[in-house]
């Protein structure tokens, strides 16, 4: 419980960290394939706010459209997705008492990929890709959880094994869909699985942001319980915590968050593992610190990675590739420097 003291001492640092994604977002609005000078960026945002509050209704210029309709939703989506993946990773790492756990451990990514592949392959109604990805993401975690449940207990080892089984099953099913669809749809499935923010829009944001923020706030409010859950089951029980119930609550919240994020952006790897890990290495492992700092750094990292993905070349780089290339060296540096520090 050292974090209580450090929290006081490090107040300015934490304020900065919490504000970081917003600062990065503002600068990111000026970055892109089209060169738009900062004053014009500020101008369009200001005009848009004016329009929203004062009812000023003018023609949108191309610059306005690029900033308001294309860049902002995309930046916010990247931030929201980065935030939810990082928080989900942090929660699951505490829950599984294992630093190598990532948000996809219970098969949510394979489930979502299968849902998306099915929707693309069958060519269903518009929006079906997101809905089916979300649905199958949840189903896969539910399957893994019920598989792991034995006599009212949900041991961590069982959960990990069940996750592997469910992942394997849905990966095989996805391959089956890929095998049967024609090549045009195959390309669509491959693009979806690689992950991208190019589908960002205000309407897609409106559907996923509120649940993600709600889950984030709930997790933050309950983060002290996460500290208890990261003890061994016996110790936690001795402290009067109903381990299985708490674990279920945290799993549900983090699954819901990740499923929301994945359904819009596809599968983006590495962030959920990297960010919480970096945070733990630098700030200790008190969940009350780890969760908000992970949320903030996850969002910042994802926005930066996406800035490069969308503006470096005239085509778009797959975001998963970038998160890994950017993250790996940072991670390696930190691990080597703090190698002796005990994890958790």
């Amino acid at each position: 419980m050292i974090a209580y003291k450090t929290a006081l001492f490090k107040f300015p640092l934490y304020t900065f960290i919490i504000l970081l994604p917003f600062i990065i977002a503002v600068f990111s609005a000026g970055i892109g394939y089209l060169r738009i000078p900062p004053e014009k960026v500020a101008g369009s945002i200001f005009r848009q706010i004016q329009a929203a509050f004062l009812g000023y209704d003018g023609e949108m210029t191309t610059t306005d459209v690029v900033i308001i309709q294309i860049r902002l939703p995309r930046i916010i989506l990247a931030g929201v997705v980065g935030c939810s993946l990082a928080v989900c990773g942090a929660v699951l790492q505490s829950l599984f008492r294992n630093p190598l756990v990532e948000p996809y451990i219970l098969g949510i990514s394979s489930g979502a990929a299968f849902g998306a592949a099915l929707a693309i392959g069958l060519g269903l109604f518009s929006g079906s890709v997101q809905s089916l990805a979300f649905l199958f993401g949840i189903i896969s975690v539910f399957l893994a959880y019920s598989m792991a449940k034995t006599g009212g207990e949900v041991p961590v080892v069982n959960l990990v094994l069940a996750g592997i089984i469910v992942s394997a099953l849905f990966t095989a099913l996805t391959s089956l869909v890929k095998f049967f669809v024609d090549p045009h749809q195959l390309a669509g499935i491959v693009y979806w699985i690689m992950g991208s923010f190019s589908h960002a829009s205000w309407s897609s944001l409106a559907s996923i942001t509120p649940p993600i923020i709600a889950c984030l706030l709930l997790i933050m409010a309950m983060s002290w319980r996460l500290n208890v859950l990261s003890l061994s089951d016996e110790e936690a029980k001795a402290l009067g915590v109903k381990v299985n119930r708490e674990r279920f609550v945290f799993l549900s919240l983090s699954t819901f968050m990740t499923a929301c994020a994945v359904s819009i952006s596809g599968i983006i790897g590495w962030v959920g593992l990297l960010i919480p890990h970096i945070v733990r290495l630098s700030f200790g492992s008190d969940s009350r610190t780890v969760i908000p700092v992970s949320a903030s750094l996850g969002a910042s990292f994802m926005i930066l990675a996406d800035d490069i993905a969308r503006s470096a070349f005239s085509f778009e780089l797959p975001i998963s590739v970038l998160t890994t290339i950017l993250g790996a060296p940072v991670f390696m540096f930190l691990v080597r420097r703090r190698a002796r520090r005990v994890w958790l």
Binding site: G32, Y33, V65, R74, G123, D182, H184, G188, E316
Partner: protein
Amino acid sequence: MHKVNIIYIAKVATVIVIQLLLISVSSALTITDSAGNAVEIEKAERIVCLNGDCLEAIIILGEKDRIVGLGTYALQKPFSPNLPDVGKWSDPNFEAIVSLNPDIVITYVQWPEKEKLEEKLRGTGIKVVRLDFYKINTIFDEFIILGKILGKEERAREIAEYWKSQLELIKSRTEKLERVKVYWESYSEYSAAGGGTGWNEIILIAGGENVFGNESGYPKVDAEKIIAKNPEVLIKSVSSSVFQPYRANNTSKIAEFYEKLLSRPEINQTQAGKSGKVYAICTDMLHGTFGLIAETAYVAKLLHPEEFSDLEPRELHRKYIESLGMEFTGIWIYPELPAERKDKNEKRAPGFEAILAVLTVAIVLALRRKT
């Protein structure tokens, strides 16, 4: 000495004559396919087609009955005969092919790899012919080679010449015209048709310039890049599941799709969106064999409506679809091209005029009676 020489010459001559006779009797034909392989063909009565493109070519030549097996995707074509499945064109089922006892197998130049096909078929006597039938630059020669194989060289030349002349007509005009900037989006959203693709080829022949022609394959782009490139015409490929082109009068699904396309934020910021030159095109029954020329004609007309006011892409398309033994109905491009709308008005006009004529006559008669 003289006698010996004469006998020797006579011997040699008879041997040559016999050899010539033998060659003409066995009549083995040697062709060079598009992969550069010399293939000796003794007969071509039983043919396996691994892909839809060679299936089309054979149907157009009127030799559908010789096909004994088809690739999985070829079987999904609406004009496909009901035959045994021999697997995907990229990864065929060797045993299925052998069990059909074909004389030749026709496949793409690049796929499947030699190890997957020729080397496995070695010793079976089944010959592999590699012809693409999907590249506008090689299709005419390939069609004539197919004609030779099937013993219908003259007919093949006739057909190839017709389509070639149509293509040359378009080419000869577009060469002089100013190039129009085109963004061609493939089936997935924000996935552009880049350099090296068939659509890039068509844009160039039709007098356009592909704004993403410098990227190879199907590069992923985003809204902002499309605005930055500012295309003058936007073409979106749509699969027939959305277009339902065979249902002549039902445009609701494609209209809905088109509305959604237009609502994308970048479209209205481009020259194409502002001038209303955004088109959805169903390339499923267009982007193969001679459909490529009909497709080129559609695109040429989209890019240069004035210069091609006399060109009727729909007629070329009709000819192509009918050569596959299907009925030509439905809408393949949305919104429809200006000339086609005029076409419809003309069709409607006689009926309208007839009603007018009857009415005037009736009025005149009625007036006469009163007076």
